[in-house]
């Protein structure tokens, strides 16, 4: 559940990107990677589904189709005539509309988690790495300290103990997601900081915040992007685990994790669509994220040309 060191290592291997032409190269390389391009297309489609899918159905995500209740295994399956494209869930609500809405939440969780990690982790790591000395020591010790807290346990506690909300979920995800990023960014910053262009900037009297913002951070982007892409699926998996424990989003809202959990619970009730559709979206999207992450890494990593 903790954002894997795998991705950390993978991202850490990337040398800081030098200059614009490299970005161009990377773009070309990326588009030569078929799996990554197909994944990109799939993700765009999933995003479109999440944002516009609601317009294709007369049902909302909370409306109950009373005619279905009580005989869902027999009549609740996917059907074109009654416009339940994916069938209905265990309470007779349209599964298509719920998957649309769940996709929205899950993507949001993934992206917000990644964003928090990008913003906080980059700032933290860049400052620690660039300023160095005692500031660096203190800042990185804080990261070490936070990394040894059993987060999943603390998050379970938070969600159990306080009235749950999506805000609490974001707080929980935000707490853990930036730590690895901060470490990677710091490492990269250390190697950039001694480069000539930074020394030149220092010599011409540019202020420290400005150097970090204008010279250090742009050169970290490659690493940050790759790592963030690989972080999105981790966050989505993380949320699904929380949902499995029954601690996810509040009804009638839902998420992939909650839908899959509902489907898995009904696995024996002759309602395969309840598991099938959400699981398909979940698996396909996560595959796509992983492939894009790999593709980006290969594209931005000059060594593996």
């Amino acid at each position: 559940m903790i954002a894997g060191r795998a991705t950390v290592e993978a991202a850490a291997r990337i040398e800081p990107v030098k200059g614009r032409s490299l970005w161009e190269d990377a773009r070309v390389r990326f588009f030569h990677n078929k799996a990554a391009v197909i994944s990109m297309v799939i993700l765009v489609l999933v995003a479109l589904f999440a944002s516009l899918g609601q317009f294709a159905t007369p049902w909302s995500n909370e409306e109950i189709d009373w005619s279905m209740l009580g005989s869902i295994p027999e009549v609740g399956g996917p059907s074109w005539e009654n416009r339940h494209y994916f069938g209905v869930d265990e309470s007779g609500r349209d599964l298509y509309a719920r998957v649309v809405q769940g996709t929205r939440i899950s993507l949001m969780v993934g992206i917000v988690g990644a964003l928090i990690s990008v913003v906080v982790g980059t700032a933290w790591g860049a400052v620690a790495g660039y300023v160095g000395g005692r500031t660096d020591t203190v800042m990185m010790r804080i990261v070490d300290l936070m990394m040894s807290i059993p987060y999943m346990f603390v998050l379970i506690l938070l969600l159990v103990v306080f009235e749950r909300s999506i805000v609490m979920l974001f707080i929980g995800i935000g707490m853990i997601s930036w730590l690895d990023m901060a470490r990677i960014v710091r490492g990269q910053t250390l190697s950039i900081k001694n480069k000539e262009f930074v020394e030149a900037a220092i010599a011409t009297g540019v202020s420290t915040p400005r150097i970090i913002a204008r010279h250090i951070v742009p050169n970290l982007l490659g690493v940050v992007i790759v790592y963030a892409t690989l972080l999105v699926p981790q966050m989505i998996i993380f949320e699904s685990f929380i949902s499995f424990l029954g601690l996810g989003v509040q009804e009638p809202s839902t998420s992939w994790g909650a839908l899959i959990n509902m489907g898995a619970a009904n696995m024996r009730n002759d309602t395969p669509w309840m598991l099938g559709f959400p699981l398909a979206f979940f698996v396909v999207s996560l595959f796509a994220f992983f492939f894009i992450g790999d593709g980006l890494r290969d594209a931005l990593d000059p060594k593996d040309r």
Binding site: M1, I2, A3, G4, R5, A6, V8, E9, A10, R13, R141, D144, L145, M147, S148, I149, P150, M152, F153, V154, I156, L157, L158, V160, V161, F162, P233, I237, S240, F241, F244, L245, G257, I260, N261, A264, M267, R268, L275, L279, F282, V283, L286, F287, F290, F291, K303, D304
Partner: protein, 307 residues
């Protein structure tokens, strides 16, 4: 090296102390009482319960007593819910279970994941590579709360080969399904890390030299490539360990193994404060120690790191 270990220990101690205080205060802030029931507990009965568990003392005094008992005696106090047991009893029962299946899952994840990764790297861009990558991503994205019931459905109900749950002292047939369910996603991560680091190592100069000398491939891999390629894997073991312990929540729910995860979730739900704190602190301390151990191993293997 000794200085390095001492330095890390010096951070570990305040970390754990902070963790104790943090979990204590979180429990303090939590609404809900461990003694609450649908019926409601009469005030006199509640007063007796609070007196028995020392909840009638002021906050700071209680915290002081708690921290002292934990630090000086490794005593986490009595459980509020399991009325005739102490937290130490519960940990003594649950922790060895979690550790056992965690250990085997760990081993399986490293062995299978490592081999899969090496294979994928050696046969880079062949169908074997694609298969290995496909399997590992697939294993990573299939939620284990979906996999666990499917495993039981297949191996218990349809085939009747394995028990669907229980522990019975950790007999092998009770171990298999939990280990598969727990190790899969870590196996996948390890395969992916191994693949990419192996690819990098195989492209390095010294390997090309070894190949050029005419050494057979398997020798090159075993003698020269494996050790450096395992470095990133080793640094992943820390998070993997935490993940395995966390994953025990799910394993215990599905396979009734009686491990620590079950105690944790149930205690959180029942507000069994002392058990929650005991387990959180234990896991936190172990995480700190394990990370330390990983760093030491890393330093020992990687000649580039100096202290």
């Amino acid at each position: 090296m000794t200085a390095f270990i001492l330095k890390r220990l010096a951070i570990a101690v305040p970390t754990i102390l902070l963790l104790i205080v943090f979990s204590f205060l979180l429990m303090e802030a939590a609404p809900g009482s461990p003694f609450a029931t649908e019926r409601g507990v009469p005030p006199a009965v509640l007063a007796n319960l609070e007196a028995k568990y020392g909840l009638d003392k002021p906050l700071l005094q209680r915290m002081g007593i708690y921290v002292w008992d934990v630090v000086a005696h490794f005593d986490f106090g009595p459980s509020f819910k399991f009325k005739d047991r102490t937290v130490n009893d519960l940990i003594a029962q649950g922790f060895p279970v979690t550790l056992t299946y965690g250990f085997w899952s760990f081993l399986v994840a490293v062995a299978v994941g490592g081999s899969l990764g090496v294979m994928a790297a050696v046969f880079h861009n062949s169908w074997l590579d694609y298969l290995a990558v496909g399997i590992s991503i697939g294993a990573q994205v299939l939620p284990n709360f979906v996999m666990a019931p499917i495993l039981v459905l297949i191996f218990t109900l349809w085939l009747g080969w394995l028990p669907g749950g229980g522990w019975r002292g950790g007999q092998i047939e009770y171990l298999i399904l939990p280990v598969i369910a727990l190790s899969t996603s870590y196996m996948a991560s390890i395969a992916r890390i191994t693949r990419s680091s192996m690819l990098e190592v195989l492209n390095a100069g010294f390997i090309r030299t070894a190949r050029a000398k005419g050494l057979p491939m398997h020798r090159v891999i075993l003698r020269h490539a494996l050790k450096p390629a395992m470095l990133p894997v080793i640094s992943y073991l820390g998070p993997a360990f935490v993940g395995m312990i966390t994953g025990s929540v799910l394993i215990d729910v599905f396979f009734s193994t009686g491990g620590i995860g079950q105690f944790f979730v149930n205690s959180a739900l029942a507000r069994d404060y002392s058990v929650i704190m005991g387990i959180t602190i234990l896991i936190g301390a172990l995480t700190v120690l394990f990370n330390l151990l990983v760093d030491v191993i890393y330093a020992w293997i990687d000649p580039k790191i100096r202290y």
